[in-house]
Each structure stands twice: as structure tokens, then as C-alpha cells.
């Protein structure tokens, strides 16, 4: 079984991600131990909470250079989920301007309501429209609904936008660059479609 490091940096919801990885046939290792992360065949960065706090927590555990090295130099498959996806950007603007991991070019900015009816946070099931083919979406139909809960989004150059979601005028809901991927939605909470996506990620590992 493939060992998947689920990075534990004190931003919770690790249990759901670990259970989903297990259900999809991977061996989840919830950890902040550099040696375990270095040896894993894939890395998942989950997370809920605020961008600045999350980067602080990663820095305190001295994980930033390690995650950059594994993802960028060693090409270890990397999946950021929700806040974890946002942390892959160059910069975030939640809780003050903060440098991110810099795995995929872009910035994390607040969703801007485009009508009086638009409520923020964006909570619930919404469709994911593919812009570029990606192995992450094998056996997943275009326009499939996934579960979102967030107030910020990843703004990036078009070549890194794998999919978009129609809310607040449309935002990038999946980013990808090489073997680094990020989903703004929660695959671990998106029932069958989410598990297919996680299986696709595990196949890359």
C-alpha cells in the first residue's frame, strides 16, 4: 500500500482525510515528522482555518522548506485541500499579507459577492467545470458537484487553472502544475466523486 503523508500542522480535520485515503486504498500517515514526510510517496496538505495562522504553524514545525523540496525538486505528488490548496500559492491575503508555499503561481484573495443574493462563505455543493484535462479527473464527469466551504479563493494564471466553479462570477476551484494539485473543495467530504478523485491522486503516487 502506498504511504501518503497527511501533514499535521494543527489545523484539524485530519481524521476525515485519513479515513477517506484509507477507504481509497492508501495508507494514511498523519504526521508532522520530517522523516516520515520525506519517505511518503504522496503528500496531502489538508486544513481549515486562516492562511496566516496556517503558515505560522508550518513554519514552527520547520516544514516549509521540506514541503517545497519534496513537491518542486523531487516531484512527489502533492495534493492541497481547501486551505491546504490556498497555501500552495505565492501569497495569501487572509489575516494580513502572508507568503505561501509558492508551489503554484497565484494569490489567495477574498471572494467578492457579485449580487445581493450571493452569500459568503460559499457553502455547499457546486459544480466543477474542467478547463484542462487532468489525471485527477479520470472517470469524473465534467460539471460534477463537489462540497465547498470557504470565503477565499486561489487566483492564478490560466495555465494553472484545471477547473473553475460558477460562484461570485466564477473562481478557480482546482489548480495544477506538474504533479502538484490543489482542490478548493473537500474531496474527503464529497462522497463518491470525492473518493474517485482521491483514488486518481493515489494512482499518481
Amino acid at each position: 500500500m502506498k504511504e501518503i503523508a497527511i501533514v499535521d500542522y494543527g489545523m484539524c480535520n485530519l481524521d476525515s482525510v485519513a479515513r477517506a485515503v484509507e477507504k481509497c486504498g492508501g495508507l494514511p500517515m498523519t504526521t508532522d515528522d520530517p522523516a516520515t514526510i520525506s519517505e511518503a510517496c504522496g503528500i496531502i496538505l489538508p486544513g481549515v482555518g486562516a492562511f496566516a495562522d496556517a503558515m505560522d504553524n508550518l513554519a514552527q514545525r520547520a516544514l516549509i522548506p521540506l514541503l517545497r523540496r519534496q513537491a518542486l525538486e523531487r516531484g512527489v505528488p502533492f495534493l492541497g485541500i481547501c486551505l491546504g490548496m490556498q497555501l500552495m500559492a505565492d501569497r495569501g491575503h487572509e489575516g494580513g499579507e502572508t507568503a505561501g508555499l509558492g508551489l503554484i503561481p497565484g494569490e489567495v484573495v477574498r471572494l467578492a459577492a457579485d449580487s445581493l443574493e450571493t452569500r459568503i462563505p460559499h457553502v455547499g455543493w457546486n459544480q466543477v467545470e474542467l478547463l484542462h484535462p487532468s489525471p485527477l479527473f479520470d472517470r469524473i464527469a465534467d460539471q460534477t458537484d463537489f462540497y465547498f466551504v470557504h470565503s477565499y479563493h486561489f487566483a492564478c494564471p490560466p495555465q494553472f487553472a484545471i477547473a473553475r466553479t460558477p460562484y461570485c462570477g466564477g473562481f478557480v476551484s482546482v489548480v495544477g502544475h506538474g504533479r502538484c494539485f490543489g482542490t478548493q473543495f473537500h474531496p474527503e467530504k464529497s462522497l463518491g466523486a470525492g473518493q474517485t478523485l482521491l483514488r486518481n491522486f493515489l494512482e499518481l503516487c
Partner: protein, 252 residues
């Protein structure tokens, strides 16, 4: 398009699931784990699990129980009952809750909402507001599972919890609860107009038509229902089919 969510509510008391009328006259309706497994199989949008005895018994949330339930829950799970501190929230999130519903504690200490939102993000804070219409036609908020009047106005409290960083409001009419006579559309409409965060309507659903009304006339982003799913033949899927037939976006 963002879909309207149909959320079964599971109320937990004395080791099993219960459902009452007007927050009283509880009937046992089965086992929590079994219900979660069935709802998982049916791929419902989301679940709300409320431990309604915790505050009354002065207990903290039952973390071991939530841990067990979350193991079979591959959809979003909101957990409430007995939450009094940031530490309680942290422990619930650790064992698999995605969001927490805070009710009595937000009345005693409204700043708890901001503390939790700052630490874990607004998206995981559901402010749960239970109310009854009083003789002046105002919607008065109740705490302690609907047993203690607070003198607070539900619409004003909704604005306040939004300012403090709540990500959603679960708005429950105590008088409609369990009656299956329809949601309280007037209060729902007022609260939805007063805030810009999503509002989940609760209390009174008996038919898919009631759900449609909460969305089209009440402007709810989601609806929660218990009796309709426990005591009638109506399933979440049937409700969604009805909504889709009427042009409301749902996930089927």
C-alpha cells in the same frame, strides 16, 4: 450553480436518536450510527447531529461517539450540543466534525463565536438560534434546548453572530418543531434579509412543498428536517426531485 442543501437532522439523547414536538415529547427513532450509514449510502448533501441533552446535563460533547459516527460519514457533518469553549471545538474537529453548531454558549458568551472563527475559520461556525414568537410579534431567542427565554430578538442576534464571524445560521422555530406544518416563513425571510451568510431553515418541514416555500419565499440556502424523514415516507431524494421540478438547483 450552488445547490440548495437538504440536511437531515439527527437529535441524540439517552444513547439513541429521538424526535419530539416543540422541543418536547421525545420519541425514540433509532440508532445514530445506523442512520448515518443509511444517509451515507443515500448520498445526502450533509448531516446535522445535535446532542440535545449535553447542555442540560452539564456535559461536554461526547467525543468518542462523534469519532465513531464520523468514521462512516463521507459527507459534511455539523455537530452541536454542549460546546462551551474553543477547546471543545478543537476536539470535535479533531474527531471528524466539519462544522460545529453553537447555541446556548453563544447566548452566555457571544465572543465564543469570534474566538472559534479566528482560530478555525468562519466556515466551521454554525450559530444555532432557537426562537418562539412572543405576544408582541417579536421572535424571542431561547437557550438550553428551548427551555429558557433570553429576551433577545432573533433577527438582531442573527446580525450580531454574523458580525462576530459565524459562517452560517441554523434558524429553528421551536413552535413549528415536529409539527410538520411548514417552516415559519416570516421569521426566515427577516433573518435571510438581515444577514449575508447562508441560513439553514429548521422546524416544521412536513412535505416537499414546505421545503420549496422555505427556499423561494423564505430565501433559505439550505433546509434541515427531522420528523419529515423519520415519520413520513418522504426521502431527501424526493424532496430534491420536487425542488428540481420547480426549477430550484439541487444535487441529485
Amino acid at each position: 450553480m450552488l445547490k440548495i442543501r437538504i440536511i437531515p437532522t439527527l437529535l441524540y439523547k439517552n444513547f439513541g436518536l429521538v424526535k419530539g414536538v416543540g422541543f418536547d415529547s421525545w420519541r425514540r427513532v433509532g440508532s445514530a450510527l445506523q442512520s448515518i450509514m443509511v444517509y451515507s449510502l443515500r448520498e445526502v448533501d450533509e448531516l446535522i447531529f445535535l446532542d440535545i441533552a449535553a447542555t442540560g446535563e452539564g456535559r461536554e460533547p461526547d467525543y468518542a461517539l462523534v469519532d465513531d459516527l464520523a468514521d462512516d460519514c463521507f459527507m459534511p457533518l455539523t455537530v452541536g450540543g454542549g460546546i462551551r469553549s474553543v477547546e471543545d471545538v478543537r476536539r470535535l474537529l479533531m474527531v471528524g466534525a466539519d462544522k460545529v453548531a453553537i447555541n446556548t454558549a453563544l447566548l452566555a458568551r457571544p465572543e465564543l463565536i469570534s474566538e472559534v472563527a479566528n482560530r478555525f475559520g468562519s466556515q466551521c461556525v454554525v450559530a444555532s438560534i432557537d426562537y418562539k414568537a412572543n405576544s408582541q410579534g417579536k421572535y424571542e431567542v431561547y437557550g438550553h434546548s428551548g427551555t429558557r427565554a433570553t429576551g433577545l430578538d432573533a433577527v438582531a442576534l442573527a446580525r450580531q453572530v454574523e458580525e462576530r464571524g459565524a459562517g452560517e445560521i441554523l434558524l429553528t422555530s421551536i413552535e413549528r418543531d415536529g409539527t410538520m406544518s411548514g417552516y415559519d416563513i416570516d421569521c426566515l425571510r427577516q433573518v435571510c434579509a438581515a444577514v449575508r451568510i447562508p441560513v439553514i431553515a429548521a422546524g416544521g418541514a412536513g412535505t416537499p412543498a414546505h421545503v420549496l416555500e422555505a427556499i423561494t419565499a423564505g430565501h433559505a440556502s439550505a433546509i434541515a428536517a427531522a420528523s419529515m424523514f423519520h415519520f413520513s415516507e418522504v426521502t431527501p431524494r424526493q424532496v430534491k426531485q420536487h425542488l428540481r421540478d420547480q426549477g430550484v438547483p439541487v444535487r441529485l
